[in-house]
């Protein structure tokens, strides 16, 4: 067990100008499950591979516990990794795959077998120990890859999108299995995914990356409730947050028919660089329908209603054509998504009036994208 520390760690791939990972500062607590999440190309896998020792660190340091491992070979770091495509040794049986690290370490045969069998029992693989990876299903291979990691009893687990090759149903099952296994073993884990749902459900803390730069680290609740910038606001949550560029006037944020009051603190935080604009966001689930003319409400023309049983989502655009150009959501530009009562959803073509619930709006500087105080 150990902590993991990234200390201004950067990686610049040869022949590129921009760092793939730019001065990453991050502390992972002992026994913590930390999820690195971000869109493709954000540097999350590179960060993980730097910790694994599979990528060079061009500047800064990486520590496991108190030990500086920046220039230590992967084989001497005492960490185990689960690869996206599992990277099982095709010529070895499941048992040999799982016991390979112990065999290399020169452990006695009896101990290897005992530890492999223990891990196999945990992962429900006991009856497959003599098979080759080729003869296993995708889910079983994934478990073998997990088994290979836990047999080692390493200081840190690294997982690089281990669920992305599974079908949707199995992914949800395995997600909870991995999370509970990690809680039970108590091994510090760094987990990479591009799926924010995975991040929210599995992580003790989440770290959002974009273009190699750390955006925000926090608990899933922090990320959802108080995203620190526009990117995190749009990335975390499903469906994604509605984000609009509003004009500030008369102490209100105005866009088309919408006039949303702002607090004194917020107004004071707006600078000249914002050019009288503010980015206002609200989650689809943080709204309710009101009658026309209610204060701080605005109208939406319904384009599509998505009924999921437990929820219904209205996809629509603002009544004012020009205003609708300035708002976007997970469904694309000029689209607003709103969650409505599933028992009685509006029809396509209807006009509905919505109000953002109190304290549920997110305000960001339009110049810097940073969160503004309320």
């Amino acid at each position: 067990m150990a902590t993991v520390t990234y200390d201004h760690a950067s990686r610049i791939y040869p022949g590129t100008e921009r760092p793939a990972v730019d001065a990453l500062n991050l502390e992972v607590e002992d026994g913590e499950f930390l999820v690195l999440v971000g869109p493709s190309g954000c540097g999350k896998s590179t960060s993980l591979r730097m910790l694994a020792g599979l990528e060079d660190v061009n500047s800064g340091r990486i520590l496991i516990g108190d030990r500086d491992v920046t220039d230590v070979q992967p084989k001497d770091r005492d960490i185990a990794m689960v690869f996206q495509n599992y990277a099982l040794y095709p010529h070895m049986s499941v048992a040999d795959n799982m016991g390979f690290a112990l065999k290399i370490a020169g452990k006695p045969k009896a101990e290897i077998r005992q530890r492999v069998e223990e891990a196999a029992k945990i992962l429900d693989l006991s009856e497959y120990l003599d098979r080759k990876p080729k003869a296993l299903s995708g889910g079983q291979r994934q478990r073998v890859a997990m088994g290979r990691a836990i047999v080692r009893q390493p200081q840190v687990f690294l997982m690089d999108e281990p669920l992305s090759n599974l079908d949707a149903k199995l992914r949800v099952q395995t997600r909870t299995q991995i999370a509970s296994l990690q809680r039970r073993l108590g091994v510090t884990t760094v987990y990479v995914t591009h799926d924010q749902t995975e991040a929210l459900t599995m992580g003790d803390r989440i770290c959002v990356l974009k273009d190699g730069v750390l955006q925000q680290v926090g608990t899933p609740r922090d990320m959802y409730d108080t995203p620190q910038n526009v990117f995190v606001a749009g990335f975390i949550g499903s469906p994604a947050m509605n984000l609009g560029s509003f004009k500030v006037a008369d102490g209100k944020a105005n866009l088309g028919g919408a006039h949303i009051p702002l607090t004194r603190t917020t107004l004071d935080a707006i600078t000249d660089e914002d050019k009288g604009e503010i980015t206002l966001g609200f989650r689809p689930e943080a709204t309710h329908l009101v009658s026309e003319g209610t204060e701080a409400s605005f109208g939406i023309r319904v384009n599509l209603v998505e009924e999921l049983g437990s929820d219904a989502f209205v996809y629509g655009e603002m009544l004012d054509k020009e205003a609708s150009e300035h708002i976007s959501s997970g469904a694309g530009d000029a689209q607003v998504i709103v969650r409505v009562e599933p028992r009685n959803p509006p029809m396509k073509g209807d006009t509905v009036y919505i109000q953002i619930e109190d304290g549920q709006k997110h305000l960001f500087s339009s110049a810097t994208g940073q969160r503004l105080p309320e």
């Binding site: 990794m81 495509n85 040794y89 390979f100 290399i104």
Partner: protein, 374 residues
């Protein structure tokens, strides 16, 4: 019954019945085409003046008659088969189409093999049977046993060394830059393009020449203070045989390298990374992860070179013609047949060679089937 049981004479014929007209056309067409093509070829051979003694014209006509004749022949055969009742024709089609190739294979491979076995029991001019006399003679001759042991030596050394050299070169070429790899591989592959006779001559003169001003080996030896030797005549510990093996290895290393390099590139990079994280050093990664995964390619190269070695002739023929204890089976057979005019003994030697090769061929076919099944 209903309309389905229409009278047999009505225009829409019953599906699957015989069609005598097609059978007749097919048979007549096939015979005419075969007769015409045969006549064209005979004319090309016996009456070149019909073609104005123009070789180019004759070649073009020959090609048209050959390719076109084959196509037409298959067409008429097909017409014939389609004229047969359907349940017949479906079973017959594959055999009819593979028959010509089987016939040609039989003509150029099976027939000579049978004849050789036949002649091995016959006199030197193949006019009378002499029982096992030829076999008694060759097994009683020192030269034959010398050739057998030489062949065994070649078999033990050349395939193994070729695979190892190819593997080493492939590994190092893999580490070069893309451009460097291309250049290096081209140079190593170059000897493959040279004929055995040319390569043997180059080595005989440039490397092994007794004159230290010409031969590289002697120039090295003399510059180190040694005496120039006629290396190719030094049969102490069969040194000259080993020197000739170097030529074959030099020629085949490129072939081995190309195949093995492809194999190495096919090994998933992740399995190497996984092994490194499992604590394996580079030597362990190579022997426990790379080699097992390219075993199939290594066996393929090994078998191919083995068969080549069994047939090795040109190198010995050019350098020593089997003198100075360097004789091998293929060269011995050549001498018996063409120098001593003893067809019986020559055939017996070839039969022994055939018996030695057969197990390797069987293994090779099995290996390829197993590869194909994967």
């Amino acid at each position: 019954m209903t309309a389905a049981a229409a009278p047999a004479e009505s225009p829409p014929r019953k599906v699957g019945g015989a069609r005598p007209a097609r059978i007749v056309i097919g048979v007549i067409g096939a015979v005419v085409v075969a007769w015409a093509a045969a006549n064209v070829f005979l004319a090309l051979a016996y009456y070149p003046e019909w073609f104005f003694d123009n070789r180019l014209l004759m070649a073009v006509i020959g090609m048209i008659a050959g390719v076109g004749g084959a196509a037409l022949l298959f067409y008429f055969v097909n017409v014939f088969i389609e004229g047969l009742p359907q349940r017949f024709s479906e079973g017959v089609i594959p055999y009819v189409f593979v028959f010509p190739s089987f016939f040609l294979l039989g003509l150029v491979l099976v027939y000579p093999t049978v004849q050789t076995i036949n002649y091995s029991f016959a006199s030197n001019d193949s006019t009378a049977y002499v029982g096992f006399d030829n076999y008694v003679a060759i097994f009683g001759s020192g030269e034959f046993w010398l050739s057998l042991t030489n062949n065994a030596l070649w078999l033990i050394v050349v395939p193994a060394v070729t695979v190892v050299v190819g593997l080493v070169v492939a590994l190092f070429a893999d580490r070069l830059s893309a451009q460097g790899e291309k250049v290096a591989k081209s140079f190593i592959f170059l000897p493959m393009a040279i004929s055995f006779v040319a390569a043997s001559t180059i080595w005989a003169i440039q490397i092994y020449s007794p004159n230290p001003d010409i031969g590289l080996l002697n120039s090295i030896v003399t510059s180190l203070g040694g005496d120039a030797q006629n290396w190719i005549r030094v049969d102490t510990l069969r040194l000259n045989s080993f020197l000739m093996m170097v030529i074959l290895i030099w020629m085949q290393a490129g072939f081995a390298m190309i195949l093995l390099s492809g194999g190495i590139k096919g090994v998933p990079e992740e399995t190497l990374e996984a092994a490194r994280m499992d604590g394996a050093n580079e030597v362990q990664v190579f022997f426990r992860v790379i080699v097992p995964q390219i075993k199939g390619t290594m066996i393929t190269v090994f078998i191919t070179v083995t068969i080549l070695v069994l047939k090795v002739f040109d190198i010995i023929y050019v350098l020593t013609n089997g003198q100075a204890s360097t004789n091998v089976i293929a060269n011995l057979f050549f001498q018996e047949l063409f120098t001593f005019q003893r067809a019986g003994r020559a055939s017996a030697i070839v039969v022994v060679l055939l018996i030695l090769v057969t197990p390797i061929l069987i293994y090779q076919v099995r290996h390829y089937r197993k590869e194909a099944a994967r």
